[in-house]
Amino acid sequence: MENLKRIFIVDDHQMVIDGLRLIINTIPGFEIVGDCNSAHQALDILTETAVDILLTDVSMPEMSGIELTRVVHKKFPHIKIIALSMFGEAQVVAEMIDAGISGYILKNTGKQELIEALNKVAEGQNYFAPEITLQLMKSFKRGQESESSRLTDREIEIIRMIEQDFGNKQIADLLFISERTVETHRKNILRKTNTQTVVGLLKYAYERKII
């Protein structure tokens, strides 16, 4: 086995690096060529050390894993990057993907997952932990759902009152809310139905059989 893939690890917690070392040392085909505890240090070492895969923590003091990924991706485009984090919030994962990662795994990872992640990424593919994929899918699905605005029960009730030509004051009294809240409801209703006037709104409501 000559062509060992060279791994470099950055994490501000040494015990995590030690734990990873224990596991990766038993995985054939890979060797750890170095590690350090800060992104700045990592950038220095990477200019002198040949590395194939960079395993980096996401949240680190001073320079985060996101920034490190951006810089490494630009300066050393041949290095594949895998993010390693406690968290897997969709937004953070998305940012890391933008920055140039090839994989994202959570820190409570086991040997099997590491083997899969390292092999896939070494072959030029991507690897995302199942929990991460789930988060991403959820946020994607949500994003789609919110495209079409749905009127709430309360809003439909208010449209009915508007139909009866009730003013804000009357509606407020009937629903035991302040006039300003009625005003908020009105604004939300007009925005969601994409109408500007009461006539337009009622037309919208009749056409869609909302009231």
Partner: protein, 274 residues
């Protein structure tokens, strides 16, 4: 002695004669004195009024500063705990998980009972990691600080939305970020209100709307749960609502709650924004 008293009486008689110029002088003097008195009294009153309003303003300012102090201290504490959980416990657990993984492999457990025990231990550590992640996240979502309110809310909604409770979130006009403390407070208020819904409302749908308009941010949180009557209102208000009101008041906003049994609950919040 008698002479002097007679002279005095004469003087007095002359004195009270209206034509005597000295009585005019005295009356004039008295008028002047009272005028001065009245003016100075009014000036004093005015000052007192000013002082009272000044004092009131001071009290209001003090209260708002107290609220601000409490809220910022609270947020700082949350941030610290979230940080400790993430950097301390979380990393320790992760490292533990990796060590156990290696240890069990080296031990080459052959007894199925033992390997079951090993798997169980690993699963427990996994579960602990998840717990820590959830708690730290509730304490201070990273995404709120990094990406802003809209993203953080989207994230929050993704986590609580389930088959049992459909949660919809509508955000409009929030392309630009709000002031940091406003975002934090609004996030907490929404989080708290939604947690109330989760705990008490037994609702199947929850609509959260956040709209930034000229000069204000409005939030409506509406559920179709069991609601409550005005008689129960106090009890309801005791639950977490005080926190919400304190936070909203700190931002000089208003909270409007409307509910009736079986008809769900609406919480509407309006915050003025510069």
């Amino acid at each position: 002695m008698t002479f002097t008293s007679i002279a005095l009486i004469c003087q007095a008689d002359e004195f009270f004669d209206i034509r005597n110029p000295s009585i005019l002088l005295l009356v004039g003097f008295l008028i002047l004195i009272s005028a001065i008195f009245i003016v100075s009294y009014q000036a004093h009153n005015l000052k007192r009024l000013k002082y009272t309003t000044g004092l009131q303003a001071q009290i209001i300012k003090q209260q708002s500063q107290n609220a601000k102090g409490i809220i910022t201290a609270d947020e700082r504490e949350r941030q610290r705990i979230a940080g400790d959980l993430h950097d301390g416990v979380g990393q320790l657990l992760s490292a533990t998980r990796m060590n156990l993984d290696t240890l069990f492999e080296r031990l080459k457990l052959t007894d199925p009972e033992n390997s079951e025990l090993a798997d169980k231990a690993m699963a427990m550590v996994d579960e602990s990691c998840r717990e820590v992640r959830t708690i730290a996240h509730q304490m201070m979502p990273d995404v709120l600080l990094k990406a802003g309110l809209a993203f953080a809310l989207r994230d929050f909604v993704n986590k609580i939305s389930s088959d049992r409770l459909k949660v919809s979130l509508e955000v409009s006009g929030l392309e630009n970020r709000l002031q940091n403390n406003v975002e934090l407070v609004l996030y907490r208020v929404i989080q708290e209100t939604v947690n109330n819904v989760l705990k008490h409302a037994n609702a199947s749908s929850l609509d959260i709307q956040l709209m930034r308009d000229e000069g204000e941010v409005s939030i409506t949180i509406e559920d179709n749960g069991r609601g409550f009557s005005t008689a129960e209102k106090e009890q309801f208000e005791g639950i977490g609502l005080k926190n919400i009101v304190t936070r909203v008041t700190y931002l000089k906003g208003t909270v409007d709650i409307s509910s009736s049994p079986g008809k769900g609950t609406l919480v509407a919040i309006l915050i003025p924004i510069l």
